[in-house]
């Protein structure tokens, strides 16, 4: 292989179409005879449907048909993809999530009827003419309140609103004993605020049915077309998978919210056959707020115990996770296996116990959002570390250095076995904090802070040293933990006769730049120009199989599958080359796109070998023609990126408004294929993490109405809310995948949130502010500073 592209900030191949307006998102696609769907949604969070009268709407000109819950009585709902059991071993409760509600709506925005019409305007007009009579019932939106006796029930069949309870870590008694021995205990109550992912492209689907071939096509703004096909065919509609093509064309951001199989995907697919016409549904932003899976929403009490030298002796946590009204595709995995397993953090905590209760409420379903469980774990740990440092009078950086797991590379030193099931692959946690402090200029900062305070300015610094589990994940492991799918990835490397290469990956790019970074890997491994490689993704008809993109897994898992296929190509290529060069394959070296007989200048290029494979006139006996290999890669372990994020904030003493003055991020995501893209991923994650800390938060009123349901009410970071980011990287390669990569998509959103909150607390601690609920709105900060 050559090293012409790997490690270089190659400009993105895909950009050309996006910057010229040629991107093709689902809503851009127009099919002949296409009709449009509009979904009438419940205005109530909890209500019994008494009657639905569609007669007036049906009579309107241009209305094709109207479906209601009755049409789906005998059709399954959308499934949950991960089974978690109660502590006592019984299976979690899995209510039906119907395509349209038949009897009782369970959150504001639950789908009640689908109007199909010639235009989207007519469909919307007709939806207004449907008359639904509801009996409004009391709703509950807070997970702890949902557990109280007498609370309104989300599902009448589950009399306590509990989806399941769960625990992880050391034996509870051992942890209690460790905590009893502690010299100092820091105890905090946390609310990890519910946030809305808000990818800029609203969800959009087109169902199409080809009568001649009895074949369905679903165009969908998804992060994983094959997974949607599997779930929809096998669990919902019961149609044979080979009769369904799922295409995820250009997708305008996902951040988790486009992983899941949504009801509307199945609705348009099903209706396309009923109507024998293509049917498109595109979400409004208001609908997106009500129906895209939300993120986070934990209520916790956490305690961290220390010995007299500041070493952690134990960690004890009780958390209530709000799962919303239904179990979304990965809802059950997020607060458990993606959260509880990260509570070791980067510290040597010897005893850990998490007790988790997952609860149904009359709210939109909650599922993985950028980081998924790991930000919640990091938030607990990193807030506890800063508050403990303050309480014990130890510098927060120093307290972290005291407790870091020592460096290990996973090759010469073994991986680190945590108390919460995982084995970290490799890590050097002190290195990222050291570099972060260096970039910050910590000593200078402390002087500046003292000076600022004298002038009445509230300057603060906050730290966060995080770890996450990415590259999800070994199928055997996740299977044992209840996943209902494998989590491998597939890749096909098809060498064309002219030596150009088409690569089919089951990973899916919705902004991450796979078409570039994957091509960099292929071009270098084969020693060919980048322009000779095309990455094809997102179409279940062309890509053999795929598990899609989430959990920062594309390069670690999908990239590794590509490398496996390339190895097969090179192995077979060597046989062809050896035949042509009349030597043994063992005598050949492959470099810079050609096979050379060792110690000679006799060589044959990759293109010649490719042509020979397809024009096998002079060809090894017993070797098949062609140069085209598929592989499946199932990782040996998760990957464990880590890093150090430091926020410097200034709080306006009069208004409580927080301004981010500096943000330093040092991340170690293993080897890096394209530094420019990795940095971009970090930037985006930081913005979302900072958004959660300062701006973003869902507010339901006491009736379950989402009162932050538009971009006018739900604040997200805009350009003038953020500073230029100061980023750097350290490199601790992943020891168990061929590229040594770990994943970078979620890191920014995991580390940054507690860093910001810690910084605000640092700025206002002397005013008596030690803890505050996110988002840290000016009003909240001002109240806390003034004890109001």
């Amino acid at each position: 292989m050559s090293n012409k592209y790997i490690g270089q900030s190659v400009k993105r191949v895909e950009d050309k179409r996006f910057i010229t307006g040629q991107g093709r998102y689902t809503d851009d696609i127009v099919l002949p005879r296409m009709v449009h769907a509009y979904i009438l949604r419940s205005p109530y969070a909890h209500a019994r449907i008494k009657s639905i009268d569609t007669s007036e709407a049906l009579a309107m000109k241009g209305v094709v048909t109207i479906y209601t819950g009755k049409d789906f009585e005998n059709i399954n709902g959308v499934p949950c993809g991960w089974q978690v059991n109660f502590k006592d071993g019984t299976t979690m409760r899995e209510p039906k999530h119907p395509l349209l509600v038949l009897d009782k709506v369970k959150h504001a925005g639950d789908g009640v009827a689908m109007v199909v019409a010639e235009t989207k305007e007519i469909a919307a007009d007709a939806a207004e003419a449907i008359n639904v009579k509801y009996e409004v019932l009391k709703a509950v939106t807070n997970p702890k309140e949902a557990l109280a006796p007498g609370a309104p029930l989300v599902h009448d069949e589950y009399p306590d609103n509990v989806a399941f309870d769960w625990q992880i870590g050391n034996d509870k008694a051992e942890v209690d004993a460790a905590m009893a021995s502690a010299h100092h205990i820091t105890k905090l109550d946390f609310t990890n605020n519910r946030v809305v992912p808000n990818a800029m492209e609203p969800r959009s689907y087109i169902g199409d049915y080809d009568t001649a071939y009895d074949r369905y096509t679903l165009y969908t703004s998804t992060q994983n077309p094959h997974l949607i096909r599997l779930l929809m065919c096998a669990f919902v509609l019961g149609i044979p998978e080979h009769k369904v093509r799922v295409v995820g064309p250009d997708v305008g951001g996902g951040f988790g919210s486009k992983i899941y199989h949504y009801t509307e995907e199945a609705l348009v697919t099903w209706a396309a056959k009923q109507l024998r016409r293509p049917i498109k549904w595109t979400s409004d932003r208001s609908e997106a707020f009500l129906t895209d899976a939300h993120g986070r929403d934990h209520v916790s009490t956490a305690e961290m115990g220390f010995d007299k030298d500041g070493h952690i002796v134990g960690l004890r946590i009780k958390t209530y996770a709000n799962l919303g009204a239904y179990l979304s595709t990965f809802a059950s995995a997020v607060p458990t296996y993606l959260h509880g397993t990260l509570l070791q953090g980067v510290y040597t905590t010897p005893k850990i116990h998490l007790d988790m209760t997952c609860v149904f409420t009359h709210t939109t379903a909650v599922d993985a959002y950028r980081g998924a469980g790991r930000p919640e774990a990091t938030y607990l740990l990193e807030r506890l570390m800063d508050v403990s440092a303050h309480e014990m009078g130890i510098d927060p950086a120093e307290l972290r250095f005291k407790n870091f797991i020592p460096p290990f590379d996973g090759v010469n030193q073994p991986g680190y076995q945590t108390q919460v099931a995982l084995q970290y692959d490799s890590g050097n946690y002190k290195a990222v904090l050291e570099r972060g402090l260096e970039m910050l200029g910590y000593a200078d900062f402390k002087e500046k802070q003292a000076e600022a305070r004298k002038n009445g300015k509230l300057l603060g610094v906050g730290f966060s040293t995080y770890i996450e589990a990415c590259g999800i994940a070994p199928s055997a492991v996740v299977g044992a933990l209840g996943a209902r799918a494998g989590l491998f990835e597939s890749a096909q490397v098809r060498v064309q006769p002219t030596g150009k290469v088409s690569v089919y990956t089951g990973s899916h790019s919705h902004g991450q730049g796979h078409e570039t970074s994957f091509a960099q890997v292929v071009a270098d491994k084969l020693g060919i120009p980048l322009a000779d490689v095309e990455i094809i993704h997102g179409d279940s008809d062309s890509v053999a199989f795929g598990m899609g993109t989430y959990g920062s897994r594309s390069l670690a898992v999908g990239g590794s599958a590509i490398v496996k296929s390339i190895e097969k190509v090179l192995e077979k290529g060597a046989k062809i080359a050896a035949h042509k060069l009349e030597c043994s394959a063992d005598d050949l070296d492959f470099a810079d796109g050609k096979w050379t007989v060792k110690g000679t200048d006799k060589s044959i290029g990759f293109g010649d070998v490719a042509l020979t494979a397809y024009v096998p006139h002079v060809y090894p006996a017993n070797l098949e023609p062609g140069l085209d290999f598929s592989s499946f890669y199932d990782p040996a372990n998760f990957t464990y990126p880590f890093g150090c994020h430091i926020a410097v904030v200034e709080v306006d003493a009069e208004t409580g408004k927080v301004t981010i003055k500096r943000f330093v991020a040092v991340d170690d995501v293993g080897n890096v294929i394209n530094p420019m893209i990795v940095e971009g991923q970090i930037h985006g994650g930081l913005a979302q993490g900072i958004g959660q800390a300062l701006l973003e938060g869902v507010i339901y009123d006491e009736n379950g109405q989402l009162t932050t349901g538009t971009f006018m009410d739900y604040a997200m970071p805009r350009a003038d809310d953020l500073p230029m980011f100061e980023t750097d990287r350290k490199t601790t390669p992943c020891p168990h995948n061929p590229l040594g990569v770990k994943g970078a998509g979620e890191a920014g959103a995991i580390g940054s949130t507690p860093a910001v909150v810690n910084a605000v607390m640092n700025a206002t601690w002397h005013l008596g502010v030690s803890d505050l609920e996110m988002p840290l709105t000016p009003q909240r900060v001002w109240r806390a500073m003034n004890h109001k």
Binding site: S286, I699, D701, Q705, L706, T707, G709, M712, D713
Partner: protein
């Protein structure tokens, strides 16, 4: 949305009581109700056209007077449905005589919104409440002069 207000009206309690329990009068003074049609006893069909700022919608629903304590208090329950969302209000009305034989009319209740109104209205909801309160009493004063 919380609805509270109080105002001294220049008429004795008895007169205020009689007026306010007259559906025609009630419809005239209550913002958000333009017509009340008796359905049975104290239950009325309520029709409204609401124009507040950017919102202009036609509503239809019911109004019911309950928990009546003569010359003292009653509860007004209003349900209004529209294409842009529904409103359910539950308001306790209290009448207290003042020293100079006037009436302190006060009310206290909540209006729950659903649908688009709930989702898009937070920014202006307190303004709506204040405005409705002001309108109620100013309408009342105006109508009082005609009776």
């Amino acid at each position: 949305m919380e609805l509270t207000g109080s105002h001294v009206l220049q008429a004795p309690v008895q007169k205020i009581w009689d007026l306010i329990l007259n559906p025609e009068f009630l419809a005239k003074v209550t913002p958000g109700i333009s017509r009340l049609e008796q359905e049975s006893g104290d239950l009325y069909k309520a029709i409204a056209e609401i124009k507040i700022g950017p919102v202009h919608g036609k509503f239809e629903g019911s109004a019911e007077l309950t928990d009546k304590v003569e010359h003292e208090s009653f509860v007004l329950k209003v349900t209004q449905n529209s294409k842009i969302g529904n409103v359910e209000a539950d308001i306790k009305m209290l009448m207290k005589p003042t020293e100079n034989n006037e009436t302190e009319l006060s009310f206290d209740g909540v209006a729950n919104m659903s649908g688009l109104l709930a989702r898009t209205g937070n920014r202006v909801m307190s303004g709506v409440a204040n405005t409705l309160t002001k309108q109620f009493f100013s309408n009342f004063e105006k109508e009082l002069q005609n009776h």
